[in-house]
């Protein structure tokens, strides 16, 4: 097509084709040059890097002291690995598996057994921020993801919701000075560590143990 037009009107077509070639070549160069200006991003020093590592056996870790605990004030701590959060609460009333003088101090894995969401403690009569229509009739763990409710007075058994099982419980020891030590976990395994298994040794895999 171009050669036909050029044959018909060579005086007009040749300069026009030259102009178009120059224009598009120059324009392409300017485009590439403009985009290349983003390279100015590559002049800052990189931040330092750190990483965590490896597993082993249930550590004995001090969590808190009896004197530091207040009723219905949850304490979050990682155990046995740095990526396994747990909720410790002094309930103010006796709970199954509870420690302390009143047997009211309990702790459970904070990772919901349903899909691994982190749930929160709800004292009696309170409502979670995500669902103001729910009011806790007793101390519970309420998961905002899908509404699983765990009874903190009875080994975090499932009260309602889609979770298939109760939450793992932290095993404690108290020394004479009132220091509370985490020394192990009860079945089932923590979510994400062979979920649903009764073998708690998998709680020790895949993370850095806390000290």
């Amino acid at each position: 097509m171009e050669s036909e037009r050029e044959a018909r009107n060579p005086k007009r077509e040749k300069p026009r084709r030259n102009f178009l070639k120059i224009a598009i070549s120059f324009s392409t160069l300017l485009l590439v040059g403009g985009i290349a200006a983003i390279a100015k991003s590559i002049t800052n020093p990189a931040p330092s890097q750190n990483q965590g590592t490896g597993p082993q056996a249930f550590p004995r870790v001090k969590v808190t002291q009896l004197s530091d605990l207040q009723v219905n004030q949850p304490v979050l701590f990682n155990y046995p690995l740095d990526n396994e959060p747990n909720i410790l609460v002094k309930l103010g009333q006796k709970a199954e598996g509870g420690i302390g003088p009143e047997g009211d101090i309990i702790a459970f894995s904070a990772l919901c057994q349903h899909l691994g969401c982190v749930y929160a403690f709800q004292a009696t009569g309170t409502s979670p921020k995500c669902d103001s229509s729910y009011q806790a009739a007793s101390p519970v763990g309420y998961c905002c993801c899908h509404g699983s409710v765990f009874d903190f007075l009875r080994h975090a058994q499932l009260v309602s919701g889609p979770s298939p099982r109760a939450q793992p419980q932290v095993i404690f020891e108290i020394d004479d000075s009132g220091n509370i030590y985490a020394v192990g976990m009860t079945p089932p395994a923590i979510f994400g560590h062979n979920t649903g298994s009764s073998d708690v040794s998998s709680d020790l895999q895949g993370g850095t143990p806390v000290t």
Binding site: N50, A120, G196
Partner: protein
């Protein structure tokens, strides 16, 4: 080739061309009808991928893939790196655009039947590329390690456990590794930065090879001797033109809606957070939130979603008709539009109901109603545009003087009944799968199926009656004649 041109630029261009072989006809010319943006949605997806690569590589220089430093390094990019926030924003919005373009490319191909012979395998390879694109979204979402991204990704990973053990253990190993946040983040990072780009490039090469073999599919009824346009420089310039406009659009969106980094992930914050997947997974998440799929029913929901994907995968072997014209494929066009409609409804609904379980009845009504509404409109449009004589003013008057209220009321009743029937049958099937068959659930299922069959018959009868009254009926069907004659 024209007569020799002695200008400097021409000599320079010829020097490069001789050495680079730019004008060598490596790729076949493009037919003139393909100079339209709709034919290049796939190419624009590749352009989006290139933008992702460039912005991603720059961010790679600063990002640290460990739980302790992921957020801080992302924040560093935002606050300290030159044009860092801009890069992050462009990266996010171009990711969204890439997913949207891939979807549009797929649906456009679906409606113009590119999946028919000889391009069946192109469709299947394209579907794999779509999965990889979604994989990019899933893996990249976790990397900033914010409460939004970590919560949503944890929910997604949690669903892997709901799969059969052999599959879940393999996927879990590939995606999460031995367990723990550090391994998980590193795995996601490796997938996002190395594995998925490599897989996508291999698949892209395969698709381009097949495209080169088969050429661009021609629209039905097009002239066989449509003008051919050479790849270089004409089509290349056209592609650059489209890419430049797309790039400009992404930049402007990034400027108008700048990204703000959500808070750092901590268990305390996460406990009060309702996790939501990103918009492209909302439709799947909304299905999983339906009450009947809660708890032990989750594998069934995942099975349904998987089944939908398998159907789309195997489309070339399901849609076996030889015709590629939209006008001659009313069923598949209707199904395609229903699919799009349901995805949009589910995604919007998911956005509006975070963390809420959806009652089965409500889900049945909304989904069933959407399907019936879209199906009725589309099939009605097909009948209007492709069936019967042209409308005249008298026919129009006849249509309006038809018992519109009665027809509308009948339509609403049929839609409602149909939704109820669909919901009941679905609920019964799930009950049977979970708890085994008993007399009550089987009876419910049979009754629901009968109800569904009645709904379909009623819809067809209503349509037949409307056609008959407006004079658009082409063929009388004895069965329907017996039903409608007393009413007409």
């Amino acid at each position: 080739m024209t007569a020799e041109n002695r200008s400097t630029l021409s000599r320079l261009l010829k020097w490069f061309d001789t050495r680079l072989g730019l004008s060598y006809p490596l790729l076949r010319p493009v037919p003139a009808y393909a100079i339209s943006p709709f034919y290049w949605l796939g190419a624009l997806t590749v352009v989006a991928f290139i933008i992702q690569g460039v912005s991603g590589v720059i961010m790679l220089l600063y990002y640290v893939p460990s739980p302790g430093a992921a957020f801080t390094s992302t924040q560093y990019i935002f606050d300290r790196v030159y044009y860092g926030r801009f890069l992050e924003t462009v990266h996010l919005y171009t990711a969204y655009a890439m997913i949207m373009l891939a979807f549009m490319h797929m649906m456009r191909g679906y409606f113009v039947s590119v999946h028919k012979k000889p391009r069946e395998l192109m469709w299947i390879v394209g579907m794999f590329m779509g999965f990889v694109t979604l994989g990019f979204g899933f893996t990249g979402y976790l990397l900033p390690w914010t409460v939004v991204s970590k919560s949503a990704t944890d929910v997604g990973i949690g669903m892997i456990d709901a799969l059969p053990p052999q599959i879940s253990s393999l996927i879990s190993f590939l995606v999460v590794g031995a367990g723990g946040d550090a391994t998980e983040l590193l795995r996601f990072y490796d997938l996002h930065v190395i594995v998925l780009p490599a897989v996508l490039l291999v698949l892209l090469t395969a698709k381009m090879y097949m495209l080169e073999t088969h050429g661009i599919s021609e629209p039905p009824g097009s002239k066989k001797d449509a003008g051919q346009i050479p790849i270089f420089p004409d089509v290349t310039i056209y592609l650059l033109e489209l890419a430049a406009m797309f790039g400009a659009a992404m930049l402007l969106v990034s400027v108008i809606f700048p990204l703000n980094l959500p808070p750092h992930y901590t268990p305390e914050l996460a406990s009060q957070w309702i996790p939501q997947p990103d918009w492209y997974f909302l439709w799947i998440y909304q299905i999983l939130k339906i009450s009947v799929f809660e708890g032990l029913g989750l594998p069934i929901a995942l099975g349904i979603v998987t089944f939908v994907f398998i159907l789309i995968f195997l489309l070339p072997f399901i849609d076996r008709g030889s015709s590629r014209s939209i006008a001659q494929r009313p069923i598949f066009v209707t199904l395609g539009l229903i699919f799009i409609g349901e995805i949009i409804v589910l995604a919007y609904w998911g956005l509006k109901t975070p963390g809420q379980t959806i009652p089965l009845e409500e889900a049945s009504l909304v989904l069933g109603g959407t399907a019936i509404l879209i199906g009725s409109i589309v099939l009605g449009a097909f009948r209007f545009f492709t069936g019967g004589p042209k409308r005249t003013s008298s026919a129009k008057t006849t249509t309006h003087s038809l018992n519109t209220f009665g027809a509308t009321a009948a339509f609403v009743i049929i839609v409602s009944f149909g939704a109820l029937a669909i919901g009941t049958s679905l609920s019964s099937i799930v009950q049977i799968i979970l708890n085994g068959a008993d007399l009550i659930s089987v009876t419910r299922l049979i009754m629901a199926m009968i109800g569904l069959a009645c709904t379909i018959m009623a819809s067809l009868t209503l349509l037949y009656m409307l056609d008959r009254r407006t004079g658009r009926l082409r063929t009388k069907i004895a069965f329907f004649e017996r039903i409608v004659r007393p009413w007409t």
